[in-house]
Each structure stands twice: as C-alpha cells, then as structure tokens.
C-alpha cells in the first residue's frame, strides 16, 4: 500500500502548516493567500502539494510496477472557513479522487492536508477518529451510498454511536432533530432507504453527514443523480444548512451552472491539476485559462436566442497514465494554436500564477485571452470537429 514515493515525501510535508514556504513547488501552484476578498475567513483546510498515483501492476506475479495513473498530481489550495469552494472538471480529471484523499478515505502518495492546522496524514488512528468529527462527506449516488439493510435511524445514528453517543434515547432524539433539519419527516426514522425517492435519499445522506456536527463537508456531485426539479430543492437545502450551521463546503461537480450558483470560489481541474482558481464571478466572467474558456463555451445556453458558435475542443482528455509534457492541455489548446504553437507550452509546465486579485491560472499565455481571441478561435473551427486532434506534424 505504501509506495516508495510516499515514504520520502513524508518529511517534506512536515513543515509547519502556517509556514510561509507553502508554495515552494512553483509548478504545482501556490496557496492563494493574497486577500482576494475583504471577507476572507481564516483557512480551515489547507491542501498542500497533494499527489495521488494509482500504480498499474503487471508482470508474472503482478508485482512489477508498469506505471501509474496520476489521478491527482500536485494540487495545493486553501478552503476558508464558511466558504464554498467549487471544484469542476470533466470525468477522469481527478476531482473525486482529490476529495477522497483530502478526507483520508484513501491514502495520499505524497503531500499533506491540514485541517484546523493539524497535519492529517500524520495522525494515528485514534487521533484521526477525532478529526473525522470535523469532516464529513455527501456522496453522489443516493442509491448506492445508503445501506439498504439499515433503517434511516441506524444510518444517521451510526456516526454518533461510533463516536460515543451510546444512549439510545439521546441518539434517537438527535436523529429526529437531524431529519427535521434536512426536511424529512421525523416519523420516517424506522423506514428503509428503498422507501424514499432519490431526493429524499440525498437528504438522508446529508443528515448522516451532519450527525457529528462537522465544520467541513465534502459534497461529491451531490445533485447530479437527481432530476432537475429535485436538484434545486437539495441545492437550497445545502445553502440553508451552510448559513444555519456555518458549514464549509468543498463542492465537487461537473455541472458548471450548479457550481456557479453555489460556490464562492471555484477551482478548475484538468488531468490531475488545478489549472485555474478564482472567485466565482471572476472565473465565470473573465476566465484566464484556455481550458476554462472552452468549458464555459461548451455549456448549452438555456436561451434559444443566444445560440452561438461555440468554441469546441477537439479530441478527448489524454490518458492520465501518460499526460502530455509541459502544459497538460497543450494537445487540445485553441490558444496555443492561435499563437502559432509556442515552444514553451510543450517544454515547460506553467505554474499556477496570480493574474489578478483572487485569480490564479496555470497558463504561460493567460494574458493573451480576450473576447476577440475567443471569438476568432470559435469562428475558425471546421464545421465537423474531429474526435481527435490531427497528429502533430
């Protein structure tokens, strides 16, 4: 389970959490600490140079290491108390893995996560148990994430039981209160998950996450399995709970409109890296990474009058086993093409750099992005975009 790289990075991560040298690895981006907004809260969770590689094994006994899926490949950011940090990206970009590693549901390859200045990966099992009260998770699939053999009361009450609330009466009272809080009928405490609709099951999942009174909740695609008319109910609920309980969310999703609605800041992931991180309005109004531009352009407008020529990326996301050199987006980048394929995109990995207060992007040529550039790129594409970029000449 422990890989060799994990061992030698442990001392690397032993730096004090608040130390100033957090951004040592320029290529992996630095922590946002430039006071983007006046209301900046203190840092609740700090993710530092986080790496998660899944080894690919093979050979005769299945022990030789053939390579690794570089699911998360050097990610750093802060989550501030009381905010919602959105994390968007396409499937396979590593956003879910990142969420799991942050919660220490799977071990990291290297890097560190600090919650309230405690280095999480160095905690013993018992210490970790205490920390887990502070951080909980809401999963995507409300059908698969609830045990069908347990009643709602058992599901929601399990966490408190494990964490020492052994008095059954008190536990039941707590569960009832939680059910009320998430908008479920308290008398449903003895029902089983299959008796509920998808939206209601997701409310059960939220109640379970709240049972230990956490400060930090990772929401991994919490509404994407729900019907549209139910999505808004759950989004509003998450919003209300955040206000009432002062929760901090890491909101992982692929739906850009949902992320815009719920987030204060947004990080965009591509192939295991954060390519842009900015305040929500800045990111959506003035994106500074060509991938963010393309993502936003790809979202269908819910207004038939505004049908427009969009910027369509060619090809698929490359394999995370063998990501492209330099900038990982260079194989699909419209901006690079427009600039006449500059060399450094292929040779040099762009660091996540500050472009404006509250906005960071990892692009060598971020300053070249303008509405005109985007328009001209959209206009120049062929009518039938091919599935893959033409092989490099």
């Amino acid at each position: 389970m422990t890989t060799d790289s994990e061992a030698n990075t442990m001392d690397d991560a032993s730096r004090a959490p608040g130390a100033t040298d957090v951004g040592t690895s320029a290529a992996t981006g630095s922590v946002d600490g430039n006071g983007a907004r006046p209301s900046d809260g203190e840092t609740l969770v700090r993710v530092q140079d986080l790496v998660k590689h899944f080894p690919i094994r093979g050979g005769l006994l299945g022990v030789s290491k053939l390579g690794a899926v570089r699911a998360v490949d050097g990610v750093s950011f802060d989550v501030r108390r009381g905010e919602t940090l959105g994390l968007v990206g396409e499937s396979g970009c590593g956003k879910t893995t990142l969420g799991k590693v942050i919660l220490r549901l799977i071990p990291a390859t290297s890097g560190e996560v600090y919650i309230k200045d405690r280095a999480m990966f160095k905690q013993s099992g018992n210490q970790m148990k205490a920390i887990r009260e502070d951080m909980q998770v809401v999963f995507q699939d409300p059908y698969a994430s609830l045990n069908p053999r347990m009643t709602v009361g058992e599901i929601v009450g399990e966490g408190p039981l494990v964490h020492g609330l052994s008095n059954r009466k008190k536990r039941e009272a707590l569960v009832r209160e939680l059910l009320g809080r998430v908008g479920l009928n308290q008398s449903h405490i003895h029902r089983y998950p299959h008796e509920f609709s998808g939206g209601q099951r997701q409310r059960i999942g939220i109640a379970r996450a709240l049972a230990l009174n956490p400060e930090f909740v990772v929401c991994d695609e919490p509404v994407s399995a729900l019907d549209v008319s139910i999505q808004s109910q759950v989004l509003n609920l998450l919003d209300d709970l955040q206000k009432e309980l002062g929760l901090t969310y890491l909101f992982i999703a692929h739906n850009l409109a949902v992320v815009e609605h719920i987030s204060d800041r947004v990080g965009v992931m591509y192939l295991g890296k954060i390519v842009e991180l900015a305040d929500v309005d800045t990111l959506y109004r003035d994106p500074r990474h060509p991938y963010t531009v393309a993502l936003l352009s790809a979202v269908p407008e819910t207004d038939p009058r505004r049908r427009r020529k969009r910027l369509v990326l060619r090809g698929d996301v490359p394999s995370p086993v063998n990501p492209p050199s330099g900038c990982r987006f260079h194989t699909r980048c419209w901006l690079r093409e427009q600039l006449g394929n500059p060399e450094n995109c292929v040779t040099e990995e762009p660091p996540l750099r500050v472009l404006a207060p509250g906005q960071q992007a990892a692009c060598h040529w971020a300053e070249k992005i303008s509405p005109e550039a985007i328009q001209s790129a959209a206009d120049r594409q062929p009518t039938v975009a091919t599935a893959e970029p033409a092989p490099a000449a």
Binding site: L184, H194, D227, S229, P300
Partner: protein, 355 residues
C-alpha cells in the same frame, strides 16, 4: 383520424393520442397516455421531461420496440400518413434503420462488444441495401469520416472498448445515419458525456442535420440542450404532453405551471439568484396517480377545479398547454415568496413508498 390528409401535406411523423401502458403485477402504469404531436421534415423536435415522464417510451413506441408487459393500446403513429401500428413485422423492420434511426444514451451498451465498429456499421448497411460486403465496408469507413473520426480506416477495425465515450457516440451516429434516415430519434444522446464532448456531438448533429436534411426527435432532460437544438418543444409529465410550442415561446412565454417551474428551478450560467425556486414535492407514483391534473399537488396555482382533468388549451397558434389556467390570466410569478416550510410540508405528504 377520420379524414385522411392529402399526400401533399402529409407530415413526416404524426402521433395521435398514443397510449402505451405497462401491465405489471402491481397495477397498470400508463407510461404514455394520450400523446399527440407531429414532426415535419427537417424539423428538430425536443421532447423534455423528468425521468419517468414517458419520453423514452414514446420514442420506443414509434419504432414499436415495446416489450412485455408493455403494450401500445391505442392511438396512431402515422409515418408519412400511414399508421405503422398496422404494419407487419417485416414492414416494420424496413422502417427501422431505414426511414427512422435511433441513437441511445449509453453508447457502450448499445454497441456490440465482440464486433468491430466497422463491422457493425457495415452490417446495418448490408441489411438495408443490396450491396456487397466490400462496398458496405467502404461505406462504413466513409460514415466514420463523416462523423469526424480521424483515421477512419484504422478505427473501423477497432472494437468499441478501444474508443472513448465520445468516439463511441460518434460511431452510433455513423451507424444511425448510414442508411440516410428521414428521422433520427436521439434518446439522451449526450447525457453520458462530458460537456466538452457534448459540445462536439451537438455541433456534429447540427452539421449532419443540415447536410442530410433530416428531422430529429431529441429526447432529453437537459433544457440547455433543447434550447440549443430544438425548433419546437414538447414538455411531458407523467405520460402526458403538458405543453407544446416553438422553442422561443417555451423559453420566453411558457404557459404551463410545470414548464415555468422547470425553467425557474434550473441554475443557469450567469444567474445571480441567491435561491433557486423549487417545484415542491416529487413526481407522482405512476401506480397511484392523482385524479384530475397530474401536477396539481406540486402546482403553486392549484385550484379546486384541478381535481377534474384539465383541458388542452390553445394559448396561441401552435402553442398548447394542458391546464385550467386560461391563457389570458397571466399566472403570477412562481414562489420565491412561497415559504420553504410550506414546500417541505407538501413534499412530506407526497412521500411515496416504492413497492
């Protein structure tokens, strides 16, 4: 139904009061219950609704792909004025893939994993045209090139698992279009794909629609995709058409409270609302539908009269709505002011225990 129309203005496809019910052990599910609409040549019709509203079953009924315990129990499906429900199995086979093709949501499960992509397209071509294997193979490669797959000759020899989701959907589209159909039924064609790949596929469908002059019946729950693609929109709810109009009208002047609620509840890019409006409650249990209007328990305008099935009203030419609200009485805006407790309380009442 009584007076047949002249061949001259026979539309491409017309559904008249189509009813497809499923006779399950627990009772009858009226999945499609009196659906009427038409698609003209070259038109793109969007069919939207939440899961379980009957939009996919409508499409399957058009191709007569309903399996037991489901049965088409009434209505007509007129293809160029002829009711396909009366066709023999052989005639029906000629319609499928020839006049009407279909693409599905999940390209992995709808392609055969043990044949190469080229084989599967060539097979479709051979079934519908009297041409040699070699010609069919050539056509397969040509189709792959048309849908934007690079190196089509090499890709034709590959198996579905060797391709990404977006590529597989392109293969599905290539197969569907290989026989040059007049109508393409696309059932959630981009739902399983990432947004950038979805954009590629939508652009591709637009380009091919222009080139082949085909009509598209686009089934989706994504209002953005509909706004992007459709000329006309049908909104379905619990097996019935609740509203039908051209796309602009649906998005700008919807009449039906369900359509309004649906539009108000989705977050959009650039949307500055603090709270989303919600449609309270959940879709009714198909085994236990309310009497009268099927939407009444969730409707902010519900009135006593809603206990009686609502009429299908003509709001204006080409715009119909199934609702008691009269077109003149502009309904007030939906519930930003409706207290959440009320909505939640209503949701509780609607708890429907499955099975």
């Amino acid at each position: 139904m009584t007076n047949a129309v002249d061949a001259g203005d026979v539309g491409l496809l017309e559904l008249r009061d189509l009813k497809t019910h499923f006779f399950t052990q627990d009772g009858t599910v009226r999945a499609v219950d009196g659906v009427t609409f038409e698609i003209r040549d070259g038109q793109t019709l969007g069919v939207v609704g939440e899961s379980g509203c009957g939009k996919s079953i409508t499409a399957m009924s058009v191709l007569r792909l309903i399996e037991r315990p489901g049965r088409i129990i009434g209505g007509e499906v007129l293809l160029r004025g002829k009711n396909v429900l009366n066709y023999s199995d052989q005639e029906m086979r000629d319609v499928r893939g020839n006049q009407i093709s279909m693409i599905f949501q999940e390209p992995m499960t709808s392609l055969n994993p043990v044949y190469t992509c080229g084989d599967q397209i060539a097979e479709a071509v051979e079934l519908h045209e009297a041409i040699s294997r070699r010609e069919a193979w050539g056509r397969a490669i040509e189709m792959l090139a048309q849908v934007g797959i690079p190196e089509p000759a090499r890709r034709a020899k590959q198996y579905p698992h060797q391709m990404s989701g977006g590529m597989r959907q392109r293969v599905m589209i290539a197969m569907a279009l290989s026989t040059n159909p007049e109508l393409l039924i696309a059932d959630e064609p981009t739902t399983a794909l990432d947004v950038t790949i979805q954009a590629q596929i939508l652009e591709l469908m637009k380009a091919l629609r222009e080139r082949n002059k085909m009509a598209i019946m686009l089934i989706t729950h994504d209002l953005g995709v509909v706004a992007e693609m459709a000329d006309e929109v049908v909104v379905m709810y619990s097996g019935k058409v609740f509203e039908r109009a051209d796309a602009l009208t649906i998005f700008e002047q919807p009449h039906n409270p369900y359509t309004r609620g649906l539009l108000a509840s989705i977050p959009r890019l650039g949307d500055k609302r603090e709270r989303l409006e919600v449609i309270r409650g959940v879709v009714p249990n198909p085994l236990n539908l309310p009497t009268g209007c099927l939407f009444k328990r969730r409707c902010p305008y519900a009135m006593p009269v809603c206990d009686t099935p609502p009429p299908v009203r003509q709001v204006k030419a080409g715009h119909i709505s199934r609702c008691w609200l009269t077109p003149e009485s502009e309904p007030p805006s939906i519930g930003a002011d409706a207290p959440p407790e009320v909505a939640e309380a209503a949701a509780q009442e609607l708890t429907v225990a499955g099975r």
